[in-house]
Amino acid sequence: MEQEFIEKAVLNAAQDVFSTMLGMEAAHIAALSDAGSTDDRERVVALIGIAGDYIGTGMIGCSPKLACKASSVMMMAEYAAVDVEVLDAMGEIANMIFGNVKTALESEVGALGLSIPTVVFGRNFSTRSMGNHAWIHVPMKVDEEEIDIRFCIAPNVAVLRQVKHGFKKEYALAEV
């Protein structure tokens, strides 16, 4: 799969979710203003896994301010601070974005599965996904707040072994 194809799938899915569900415009930006920063601001991070013949992780990260605003719009309720309902809403936003990315990728690689989202809220933490495949970054801006959207996907090694030993018929696998 071409990186450009995946990037476009992520961008289209994010813009569709924000505009349809939240009535907010999500603009693609060149880079996050705090890229590489290690400050201890509070963050809300939602993670979701992809499984199947390709495996990977999708992540969205944003400020508590944007998480509360997005949740307030989506649920038509007022959220002044991050609570369990804001975390639920962010998990669902991640689910919808990467669910739609999954649908787009399935046209290239066949059926994939999506995990239940996990949402983390706090300060001074870092995230890491195992494996050595590069993340695809799609930084965006929503209502003047930045949102960090990342996606990482690679062929499933166990499936590669099945192909190698002839258990699967011809199967198109390409390096990301």
């Binding site: 569709d16 979710v17 349809t20 569900m21 949740s71 989506m74 649920m75 038509m76 309902e85 639920d88 809403a89 998990g91 669902e92 689910n95 919808m96 669910g99 739609n100 999954k102 649908t103 399935e106 046209s107 999506l114 239940i116």
Partner: protein, 128 residues
């Protein structure tokens, strides 16, 4: 016809949004109940007279397609309308749901208007 609705989704956020949509549109909704998976949904359907189910597909314990299959296999629930509301947007999945007996299919993300249109189509008996 008054609607006795069951919203089935493992996401509390989506359930809340759908409850809001159903209460704020002019659909003839009498009662709305919630379930977080197919198992819970069947318990409610066995004890209450549900006539419309809005269900996600991907859920733990029992997914939406298994719930749909179970509902369609039960003669007592023949008249129950089932609308799938899901991120699963591939043609294959939509076709699978229709073949299993779904009355409608809405892709997430959705607008309130899309939900209302699908429900109205079901009420009119028009394939949605």
């Amino acid at each position: 016809m008054k609607l006795n609705v069951l919203v089935v989704d493992d996401s509390a956020a989506i359930r809340k949004i759908l409850l809001r949509v159903l209460s704020q549109t002019d659909l003839p909704v009498e009662k709305v109940q919630e379930a977080s998976d197919g198992v819970e949904a069947l318990k409610i359907m066995n004890s209450d007279n549900i006539n419309l189910v809005l269900s996600d597909v991907n859920m733990p314990n029992m997914d939406g397609l298994e719930l749909l299959t179970t509902v369609r296999a039960n003669a007592a629930w023949k008249a129950v309308s089932v609308i799938m509301i899901t991120t699963e947007g591939s043609q294959a999945k939509v076709l699978e749901a229709v073949q299993l007996g779904a009355n409608g299919y809405v892709r997430k993300p959705f607008t309130a208007e899309q939900i209302k249109e699908k429900v109205l189509s079901c009420l009119k008996g028009v394939p949605a």
